[in-house]
């Protein structure tokens, strides 16, 4: 057996390029952030190099613990709602003829082209008391007087779902398009109603892309920075907002860095757990 692996610089180039990118734009900044998170914050000034765990110890403060838990809770909830809405939507979409799919895809892409700022302020207007949808309900006669629905937890959830929906559709679309239409049909001929076919065959067959979409929307939500401030109350601020608040307005970079690192580790743990659970079910079959 001879070693046929390519040698020399040209052969290694395909690895070097992404490795260099990763090093330059991820490993180095992350290292700096890590170093900063252990630095000493000078009261009323800038930080100075050092090694102390004081910044991490502040997590024991229930205020930030609650912010972290809230960030996770709303990110998971919004991701679950988006998947529950977008998966049937995409499934029905892929069952249409190619030509009929185009307007829907254009619509989804159009939503994608809106910035978070526009979406945030549009929803805050739509849910407001003066110009919002509640006036429509008053006009129909369902409620006696106009109400302000924002800022609130529901408004924030709504905004996050709206933002995540087009991404989810675009992630699920290729996998669902490739699904052999005869697979659900086989389930039908074997006596399963369309609804049972959906849950017994379509969902489990597409478990991997579903899991992928769930993780992506979750991470996406976790990074939401603008929407919690536009559509939520201060108690609805996610960790991302607190990080910005500490870094920009309180000038406490070490604590902001510690929170950011904590957020990264927490999300990685969550993603790992999801993948392990998903993989285990596969192995059990």
């Amino acid at each position: 057996m001879s070693d046929l692996r390519p040698r020399g610089l040209p052969a290694r180039l395909p690895v070097l390029w992404p490795a260099a990118m990763l090093l330059l734009f991820f490993v180095v900044p992350f290292g700096i952030m890590l170093a900063v998170s252990f630095s000493h914050q000078v009261e009323g000034g800038f930080y100075e190099p050092g090694f102390e765990l004081a910044n991490y110890a502040r997590f024991l403060d229930p205020f930030f613990g609650r912010a972290l838990l809230f960030s996770f809770w709303i990110s998971v909830l919004a991701a679950a709602i988006v998947i529950a809405v977008a998966f049937p939507f995409t499934y029905c979409l892929t069952r249409l003829r190619r030509r009929a799919q185009v307007p829907f895809l254009v619509f989804v892409l159009a939503v994608l082209s809106l910035s978070e700022v526009i979406i945030g302020f549009a929803w805050s207007t739509l849910l407001s008391r003066t110009a919002g949808l509640s006036n429509l309900l008053v006009w129909i006669g369902l409620i006696p007087r106009a109400q302000a629905w924002t800022p609130s937890f529901g408004a924030l959830l709504m905004g996050l779902c709206y933002l995540g929906f087009p991404y989810t559709v675009l992630i699920l679309y290729p996998a669902l398009s490739r699904l052999d239409p005869e697979i659900p049909e086989a389930s039908r001929t074997l006596g399963a109603s369309p609804l049972r076919t959906f849950f017994l065959v379509i969902v489990p067959v597409l478990r991997a892309p579903l899991l992928g979409a769930l993780i992506m929307v979750f991470v996406f939500n976790l990074g939401a920075y603008l929407l919690p401030q536009v559509l939520g109350r201060p108690q609805h601020w996610t960790l991302s907002v607190h990080i910005t608040d500490q870094a920009v307005f309180q000038s406490n970079l070490p604590f902001a860095a510690a929170m950011a690192i904590f957020l990264v580790l927490f999300s990685l743990a969550f993603i790992g757990l999801t993948m392990v659970l998903g993989g285990q079910r596969e192995a059990a079959r």
């Binding site: 052999d180 005869e182 697979i183 049909e185 086989a186 389930s187 039908r188 001929t189 074997l190 006596g191 399963a192 109603s193 369309p194 049972r196 076919t197 017994l200 065959v201 489990p204 067959v205 478990r207 079959r285």
Partner: protein, 350 residues
């Protein structure tokens, strides 16, 4: 009344007519092949029977009951799909037991039934394997076992063997036929392969252009095609155009050729003689006799088991097949006389 009745069924997709006035009657327990080129409507017809397409017009009756508007999951028919459509997330056993699980059959009965079915398709002991561990032929058998698990009244197969290689396909054709005979189950197979149809079917339905062209036992269709399409599609056929010249004869290049049966066509109208390659007899040029045409040898292909001789005759290319033992000693370029025995000549309108 037992069996399947397709009562003047039509199906349109937008502007496209996939089925035109299909009217068929199949007695129970037969092996039926829907045969035709792609796009002829055969798969649409099978899907309409399975309940996966709703006919635009007409009715479908099973054992005298109208099932036209019964949804697919309440028809209780077994179907094998062209892609096989095995569930990739389930094991072999779970695939086969899927229908039983839907019906709420208990686990022990399901296990027993799975083993029975796997034995039936000659694939014992693979119940716990995953689908991806099976070969193409084994998947085929699993799909058949799954479709038979609910003891269906009708067993439908859509081009079931098209994904297999030629050798395995031939073996599976025989096996499928033997399985059907053993179970006595009414079976409908869609295929575009005429050899497949001739091997397996009790009744062949030849379809083209959304219409049924001919229905009958395979040999009957082979020997007595009703039109040029059927003659050409079933096996290889030679078509020699000419003009009608009498009740059962045709004039080709001024030579009167007798056919097998009266054709009822008007004197002088255009028609063609259809003759199978194996019926053509080659004589040396100048040897006289009835029903002969002059021809020239273009090409000789010796395949070992048979010899194919291509000839130019009456402005057409014509194929003759003989066995090596009966092979007449002809060379490319030889002038010969072709005998077309009247019993083998079918006169068709053209």
């Amino acid at each position: 009344m037992s069996g399947l009745r397709i009562d003047h069924v039509g199906k349109t997709f937008g502007m496209f007519e996939a089925l035109k006035d299909i009217d068929l009657d199949f007695p129970a327990g037969r092996f039926i092949c829907l045969l035709g080129p792609s796009g002829c409507g055969k798969t649409t017809l099978l899907r309409a029977i399975a309940g996966l397409e709703m006919p635009s017009t007409g009715r479908i009756l099973l054992d005298g009951t109208d099932i036209t508007s019964v949804p697919a999951h309440r028809r209780g028919l077994g179907m094998v799909f062209q892609s096989l459509a095995l569930f990739p997330h389930l094991s072999v056993g779970e695939n086969i037991a899927y229908g039983l699980r839907i019906r709420g059959v208990d686990l022990a009965t399901r296990r027993r039934k799975v083993e029975e079915l796997l034995a039936l398709v000659h694939l014992p002991g693979v119940a716990d394997r995953s689908i991806s561990q099976l070969s193409g032929g084994q998947r085929q058998r699993v799909a058949i076992a799954r479709a038979l698990a609910l003891d269906p009244k009708l067993f439908l197969l859509d081009e079931p063997l098209s994904a297999l290689d030629a050798k395995l396909r031939e073996a599976m054709q025989v096996e499928l036929k033997l399985l059907q005979q053993r179970l006595g189950i009414s079976t409908i197979v869609v295929t575009h392969d005429q050899r497949e149809a001739l091997t397996m079917a009790d009744i062949v339905v030849v379809m083209d252009n959304a219409r049924v062209q001919q229905v009958g036992p395979p040999l009957e269709i082979y020997r007595n095609p009703v039109n040029a399409f059927v003659a050409d599609f079933i096996g290889t056929s030679n078509l020699l155009p000419g003009a009608v010249d009498g009740q059962d004869s045709l004039s080709i290049d001024g030579i009167r050729m007798a056919g097998a049966r009266p054709h009822g066509l008007a004197q002088g109208s255009k028609a063609a003689i259809s003759i199978r390659p194996e019926e053509v007899v080659i004589h040396p040029a100048g040897e006289l006799g009835p029903n002969r045409l002059p021809a020239e040898v273009i090409f000789v292909r010796d395949l070992g088991a048979s010899v194919e001789i291509m000839l130019a005759c009456a402005g057409q290319e014509l194929l003759a097949v003989t066995s090596p033992r009966e092979r007449s000693d002809v060379q490319v370029g030889d002038r010969v006389a072709l005998e077309l025995p009247p019993a083998a000549c079918v006169v068709l309108p053209s």
